[in-house]
Amino acid sequence: MSVPRFDFVVIGSGPAGQLAATTAARDGRSVLIIERDRGVGGACVQRGTIPSKTLRETAAYYAGLKVRSCGAFDVSIPPHIQLQGLMSRMEKVVTSHTAVMSRELEELGVEQWHGRARFVGPHELEVQGVRGEPRRVTADYIIVATGSRPRTPPHAPVDHEHILDSDSLLGTMYVPESLTILGAGVIAAEYASIFASLGVKVVMVDRHALPIGFLDKELSSRFVSHFEGHEGCRFLGERGVLRVEWDGVSSVVAELDDGEKISSEKVFCALGRIANLEDLNLDAVGLAPTERGLLAVDENFRTQVDYIYAVGDVIGPPSLASCSKDQGQRAAFHALGKQAPCQSETIPIGIYTIPEISSVGLTEELAREQCEPVVGRASFAEVARGVIGGHSTGFVKLIAHPGDGRLLGAHVFGESATELIHVAQMVLLSGGGVDVFTKHVFNFPTLAEVYQVAARNIERQLEAVGSSAATARS
């Protein structure tokens, strides 16, 4: 029997793999996508993004109702409520999303195989299904998008019972009364805020001084401030964890390097992720993981083997769906010999904490490496919609070039941040200045008006120093 051949084989159907496959398919190429899980979407859909955002939605509504009800309703989530009850729509959401993605792939003529792929020689893969004999396939280009899984450090042995990770946390039958979270990355911060909003006493512990370190520092600080506003919630930065042990009865005890012992009902370990590379038999094509267990790639996401690309979590952080999509698309375009349309500097970052955090472009720290940026801030409390909705803790920070007021970066903390950021993204994509916000009328009352307040703040600063931009616009 002849071995089937495709122009592209994509291993993994998460955000990176999907974009790679659909990009190649839209160019008229023959594409096969191989997924080891049942249903497309990868960990993002099946265990990460969709399930956690479904729970987040409930927690956010509860948090919002508390504020908006002004005490008219006694709003409280009973301790130990069944977690599944708060996520009752999850299976429907996952099924629906998976069906939509699968249909899109089908409509583009992308063939889908269910199984685990491994390299067996140049341009050739073997795919083992759950049952039956393995089958082989060859391709001109192979894109590795196999994603990652939670890391289990030796001092915090995840047992999926008392010490959980992001794969097992949402399978818990009930909301615990207390939760210790090891880590302060995106996943740790999202779950910390979700469970804090549900009334759980959450303690976050991490070696870094602030959570989500790649963000503009002001956003990270604001997150900590908001998180610690929940009763019993603490962020313990610059601390290490020596060991985590179940006491055999009802508590997990985390012993810190400063001697403090934190006892909680459950521990959630969010200390990074490991690339899923061990099943690929990389040796067969002369590849090997780096010391950090990742696949090394160049700026076009190509490995040392010129027909093999790698995208998404397998190449390392930031491990965000938006970035992974961009990588998948760019890798496919490069293999096709074409220029990718997207500029990676304008890929927004969305973090689904409560409230949300979102950024696009340069942080203030990065901007200061290039110039003396002008920074404008505005609180959601400065616009009517922010007060009406009880979103007073939200804020926007704009970073502008001192010479011409060109927008360099935008950062939002607060309700709908991940939606609002796209307004700033469009300004960045067009190379516009902050005057784009001030010279155009927005709907009233809206949260987006907060951009105008921050932009006017920048314009006043520019005027004060008599910049050329301010002079030209006066």
Partner: protein, 299 residues
């Protein structure tokens, strides 16, 4: 009398039992079910162990939790009482660990003693032997459920409870049959007992789980843990996990009725439903000795 039927791999297996349930027995069990007169008895050895544990001055919390986590009847009764109006807060207790954490040692001891003293016991030696086999199978299923959940990186606590209680209907049926033996003037042979347990245990077990306010995953695992797992309305994954664990437990602890082979396990359709690859199944099969030792250690 024996008959042949197909196993889930499509092969013929012969059951060396009388699989016909007499009409009188059928009506009896159905009647008890319709009237809600279903009771779950306990093994005397477990009852004694509880009493000994809880009557010492310093109750060993870890030991009490361990007994709770390995006995189907005790687990079921503790959860039932924990969810009764006296103890229940505003939400039901849905896991054994939650019961330990939320009730605390004193309340847990009180409940366990009440169950041990007041509960029905399997007193007849023959019944005790059958019940003990059921308990061992339940515990083996619970252990395998945990391992399957770990393999699939799912929460273990939920899977364990589903496994432990999956056949909770069988001792209920057994107890009812033994009581009815005299009334019906009929010898409840081993064949009748097992045929009746096979026929009724899923619906009776589901009714018990719902009555005790167990989470949907448990109720559906009790009802749909055979080859009908895809009929579970909301928790098919839990039902599938319990189904596979049930098979693995049968392989590890062969009942007196039938034996399951590793080849049959490898052909189970539920493996595909759970997305368990051949190497992952081999790792689960390799745990048989460990599970067997754990179950036999308890007796």
């Amino acid at each position: 009398m024996s008959r042949s039927k197909s196993d889930q791999g499509g092969r013929e297996i012969t059951e060396h039992i009388n699989t016909e349930v007499p009409t009188a027995v059928h009506e009896l069990v159905s009647g008890l079910f319709e009237r809600g007169e279903i009771e779950l008895p306990m093994l005397p050895t477990v009852a004694n162990e509880i009493l000994e544990l809880c009557q010492s001055e310093d109750v060993d919390a870890a030991k009490l939790s361990e007994v709770l986590h390995r006995d189907q009847s005790l687990a079921g009764h503790v959860l039932r009482i924990a969810n009764s109006p006296i103890y229940q807060g505003t939400v039901p207790i849905v896991s054994l660990q939650q019961a330990v954490s939320r009730l605390g040692l004193q309340a847990l001891s009180d409940i366990a003693v009440a169950v041990a003293v007041q509960g029905r016991l399997f007193l007849l030696p023959a019944a005790r032997e059958t019940a003990a086999k059921l308990w061992r199978h339940a515990l083996a299923t619970a252990y395998f459920s945990k391992e399957i959940a770990r393999t699939r990186r799912r929460n273990v606590e939920s899977s364990f409870l589903c496994g432990l209680l999956h056949d909770v209907g069988k001792p209920v049926v057994l107890s009812a049959l033994l009581d009815a033996g005299e009334t019906l003037d009929m010898e409840m042979t081993s064949g009748i007992q097992h045929a009746a347990m096979d026929e009724f245990h899923t619906v009776i077990g589901e009714a018990l789980a719902q009555q005790w306010k167990m989470p949907a995953a448990v109720a559906e695992s009790v009802r749909y843990h055979h080859d009908d797992y895809d009929q579970a309305p909301t928790c098919a994954e839990a039902a599938m996990t319990t189904c596979l664990a049930d098979h693995l437990a049968h392989l590890t602890l062969p009942s007196h009725r039938r034996e399951v082979t590793e080849e049959q396990i490898r052909d189970l359709p539920v493996l595909e439903s759970l997305n368990i690859y051949p190497d992952e199944l081999e790792a689960l099969l390799a745990r048989q000795e460990e599970v067997l030792k754990s179950v036999e250690a308890i007796g």
